[in-house]
Homo-oligomer: 440 residues x 4
């Protein structure tokens, strides 16, 4: 990661004086704004500090988000479009609402439009109307899960999208979505550059799996593992309610097991957490089935949590399917594991009772909890500050207690994963008491 890669682009020089007064205390109106030079260290350890000073290196850092003294866009000329793509995630409506309120009340931007059903909403043939968004029209949406704008998956023609932006005379585009959406947003930005248009493209990264790099947590994630925790508690009741009762809960986590790991840290009754980052074997003396049997012999119940992306290497045949967004579709490891446990214990003539729980949509369609709701509001406000200052091709993020701005190409460059040699995973192992390595 080089410093230059982490510089957020701007459309041009911001020259319009902002009317905001970000320091409530100061008489001097020019006080309290962020500057481009305000940056947050990626590595906040003293050791890294010493390393950098010794080696005369500038440490890697992220641009700090916040209100800028000068704006690029005149409020009265600004026209904003907001689009939500991909699967549901708690907090999407909070983000939409805070974007609208911040533009309207704080920056006096009154022309805000909702593009319906994701990128589809830009494409003529789908014929989705554009919605006018006002503080009143989105009054209570933060209390509901889902997205009031509707969503869709899959790529759309970039040229047509930009045509439509021009037609609608939009100069600020907000994309709320995951990996694929942000790649789309970057492609839109590139097309805008090619056409030499004055449109900024801003992203609010949405990933219930919490797997966007260089962002310490994504909105909705805390809500997700809280609901997962409630379900795990129910599952625990099932496990202890039967002799050798096994409750098997499948949670989201296509490539990263953050929801499973954090839910287990919150609900300490979990005995096994299986995640994509830590491959495991079923059979053999160190395999999962042996460990599960040992747990049952010892305590007569077991609670197993598995992330949907775990154990994909266990499937015999390797033909892979993709969803309309191009995400690799996982085989259903939950049903697979259920079957393998049954086969094993059945053939061993071992009495047990297995309950399989797949909450899926129940988690992602919930409204945000209080902390996520607050977080969404602050993400959105900071994203608006950046857009009004003419920043483009960026996502808003959070790092070391600060809101940050990150170039989209960096944010989508790699998937954030649990470091199985690190603290988080080790704490999961300590909490569950599961073997550190369930493979030879």
């Amino acid at each position: 990661m080089k410093h230059e890669d982490l510089i957020v682009k701007t459309l041009g020089k911001a020259t319009l004086k902002s009317t905001l007064k970000p320091c409530a205390l100061s008489e001097d109106d020019s006080f309290g704004f962020v500057e481009n030079e305000d940056r947050v260290l990626k590595d906040a350890t003293l050791k890294h500090f010493l390393y950098c000073t010794e080696n005369n290196e500038t440490p890697v850092s992220f641009e700090k988000a916040g209100p800028h003294k000068h704006l690029f866009f005149k409020p009265e000329d600004s026209r904003v479009a907001i689009v939500t793509c991909g699967g549901l995630c708690p907090g999407v409506n909070d983000v939409i609402q805070s974007l609208v309120n911040q533009f309207n009340y704080r920056y006096n931007v009154k022309q805000i439009y909702g593009i319906q059903y994701g990128f589809e909403g830009f494409i003529k043939k789908y014929n989705h109307p554009v919605a006018e968004l006002t503080p009143k029209s989105i009054d209570k949406i933060h209390l509901f899960g889902g997205t009031v704008l509707g969503s869709s998956r899959g790529k759309q023609d970039i040229a047509q999208i930009v045509d439509r932006l021009c037609e609608l005379d939009i100069n600020i585009l907000f994309c709320i979505g995951g990996d694929g959406t942000l790649r789309g947003a970057h492609a839109i930005h590139q097309e805008i550059v090619k056409r030499n248009l004055r449109i900024v493209v801003a992203g609010v990264p949405k990933t219930i799996d919490n797997d966007i790099s260089f962002i310490d947590k994504s909105f909705g994630f805390e809500t997700a593992f809280a609901i997962a925790g409630d379900i795990i508690r129910s599952a625990h009741n099932e496990a202890i309610g039967a002799w050798n009762g096994i409750a098997l809960v499948k949670l989201m986590g296509r490539n990263s097991g953050f929801i499973a790991a954090n839910a287990a840290l919150a609900m300490k009754e979990v005995n096994f957490v299986l995640i994509p980052e830590d491959p495991f074997q079923l059979h053999g003396s160190k395999g999962f089935l042996k460990a599960l049997r040992a747990r049952l012999d010892n305590r007569h119940h077991a609670l197993v949590v598995i992330a949907e992306g775990a154990g994909q290497d266990l499937f015999d045949d390797a033909e892979k399917r993709k969803d309309p967004s191009g995400n690799l579709l996982n085989k259903d490891i939950g049903l697979f594991l259920k079957q393998k446990i049954s086969e094993e214990f059945h053939s061993a003539n071992f009495r047990y009772s297995l309950k399989y729980i797949d909450p899926s949509y129940i988690i992602r369609s919930a409204p945000a909890n209080a902390n996520d709701s607050k977080f969404c509001g602050l993400l959105a406000r900071n994203a608006v500050h950046a857009a009004m200052a003419g920043k483009t091709d960026f996502v808003v993020g959070h790092w070391n207690d600060n809101f940050t701005l990150i170039p989209i190409p960096v944010a989508v460059s790699e998937t954030k994963k649990i470091d199985v040699g690190g603290e988080l995973w080790w704490n999961v192992l300590e909490t569950t008491g599961q073997p550190a390595k369930m493979r030879d």
Copy 2:
């Protein structure tokens, strides 16, 4: 239904004066007890009253539950066993706790035992220890779902059960369970009669489906449809989040659609409720798929709730499986319907998005809500009153605002179902706006 069938049996004459004072106001201690003649009319309409008086008929009625002036059992000689069988249901722990507290604090019965893992717990070969139950040992269990005693399904040898009851010197047996369990309880009662033992058998009917006859609601049912309602609300977010979004929720209801129907009355966003009592066709001009398509064309989203026992006649092959309790296992109508919708709309080249949600165990393993918790407590207290008075082969129930006692054979004689010509179902149709008859 004849009057004689509804007379609850007793072990013999109750002669011990109760020390309870059920009327807080009266100085006269003999006041406020129920008598065997206290009965609750099954049909509380004026029309039925007039019919009976005109025809000189005695109306059908249920014995009213409550404290009896005389007890059959001496508290110091009483030994109680409690067993929980079958699937989980919100409130089981509430019932256990209230039984223990009522016996201990109010009747001064101190010897109370928990039989573990259902009827299995009586059988030697399973080797489950018996748990001593005291108010302290079951202190907070009402705050948890599940059953602290564990449960199991399936029949066990009746003779061995009665042997074990004798060995443990039990004279009051409490069975908390559904249809199958109550049939088992009745068989135990018959064996007790055959052996001429002084043991009463009492049942607290547990059925999350609310399908026990002559009982207006079963414990845990309100909690069940409340949680189902929350899930339906989430499902609604999924439905409106996509173009032609369909959310399909499968709820419990093997033979009766009470949970589905009541959840739809509580959460008014539901568009279709499919239940076992009202067969439907998939195809044809009146079929479900046509109606679903019409809804989508009109509103572009649809919320469908299906009880697990609905549409079983739609499966081609008729081979039926049973679970260990002898319950007929339904084919998975949820997955079936999901597939049929996909086939239909795919072949019609109709764009849609379907989310399938099967919450199952999440509902039944939850703790009871406040009203159910209260209801469980009162059911248990009334059951204890009856048992101490020597009543046997009965379940405790509720009818026309009174707690009642019903002979077990009557309670299990038929499954309670939704009358599809009646008020409840009609109100569902009014609320959903679905066609009254989705078949030719």
Copy 3:
């Protein structure tokens, strides 16, 4: 209570054939309607049946609610006004929504108006606009507590109200409110009769205290005691967290202790329930303070729940205040009791810790839970059926598992109270273990 008093009035003969088909099964459209003769027995015991037949008496009964074969109002001519008065109660928005949906979708009545801020909304000088209500405008209101129409307390001039009804050309007026509101509704009805107008007046009784006579439960009540139960659970944590910890919770219940009693039956940790119906002394050998001290000496914590109307006779001076609706304002028994406990234990040099909790508005402003939401919907639907059939001066109620109609004068004739010699109160005493009589 005489039979004649329980006959609900009608504006005149209903002659318009209803288009509803209340029996989903029947081919015959005329099937499934209620008739005026359909009535529900007040007393559903066999003993009362026998008494009536022996004495040749007709038992007291309530008119059964439901759809009528003939309507009084033509849908296209019908203009409905809805007004909500008095304090908040869970479920008011559910009732409003179900009224609107039922009129609009089922009876095809499209002209529905919301009168804002209670009876004030009819009075010119307040200048509150009238709101047009459509299914879309009240789409999600059932998910929120409070009332979207606003409310107010206090009497308004009846003549002006009727003037305004005429001006707005209303012929169906719905009043959602408590005692005072219903008395106002009856006065409006009388004025309408005097003026010989064709306007029906219908009431949906709202009382979080559950204290309307001849109605087995009022909407919002279950939600209220459920939330009270959660707060009691928190209070219990406070009580056990300190040496001789006392948690004192004041709950609603101006004249009747139903919320306090039912919350204690749901949350079994309560040690004392103090209600208006059962006067108690503070001092003396049987007094509350002695009993509280005994509990603390024994267990070192105590949880006390008091209804706001309890112990009003304990105040020295008798000057009484009334609120704008004319309800007698209670002295604050919670703060009073807190002080008395402190005085007593302080003077006895007894170490203790008292936490006082007054949740008040938190309970009444919550949204309805699932069972209440369902109940509100059915109340509203049945009220609409009656209004369309020309019934007037009535409230909709519920009795012995049926929805009923009751003349307003009967409903407000007396306040429903807990029978302290009856089952409910005795079960509270059994659950709490408190002395049956805390007075000499």
Copy 4:
């Protein structure tokens, strides 16, 4: 703040090899431990980095928490005492449970004792028994609010406490409590040093107000503002339910308004947040009452949240009371403000309706939510690591995404407050739209 002040003391050299394997991946057992040199920068900005390097300064940093390669205590010789002091806070039971489980399962320390009712539990005359704590005895406590150990306020004799520690042969003392408790812990530490004993004193800072310095959030805080948010939502229903409806909610926050500020960021309906850090006037053209009136004239409802410590300068007389812990007792600003609003609007003949809500104990006695539960677990685990390594006179904290250790004297050196010139407060002002300065 000097670097030396932030060095955590140790009892002596840790020489016993730890059996933990904190890096799940590595074959090398010595990998993954923290060292004393692992530290976390206080200021993670690039500007501060540049400043330090230019000025050749070492930046201020906190010791990183984690497992140490060598332990000071032998597990078999270790005897742990845990004590909880002061008011309740969500998560205390989580901390207790995780301490016990970590000591027992991970460090094989089996002798763990619960001191009951705070520091009182050490003092002979109170005669509180000491509780033995095992994983089984504290099995489900994390699901309950409060503290299973009981608590108390106030100072106790330090010498007697240390006497008792010796008598019980404790070598690891855990104090869970706030400011006063930590000062007590430090005094105990000093007495231990004086007596030259081998006892470590560890603190887990408990402050629902989130006002401990150098710790970015305290456990239970997120839960607290989440529950506050729910109550604010209810209050909002009250405000909009009446003409010129004002809902006034008093929240915790003796010296710092974090709960009020964060609840307002989560629940965006709040119109005014009043906190101790930002003094306001009642009267005058910039005063609060003017601003409130303007809001009402404009929107006809207002939602006001006030921290208990706000506006203390508004009280005429300055006599101050303290609670048993020595905390200054605030005057009741909620009731005061309620009265002042009433006086103002009454004298102006302005129609309004005010509802005052003081949830207090309801918030602090709740169980921790999922994220707090996880946080409590990790705090406790890290505190155990440090104690086993012989660290003493420290609290465990969290900073820039890392768990940290801080000397107690530093943690209690000053109260953390909201910077009213900073981002958090400005975002509150932006969200509420309230005037930045309500004073001349």
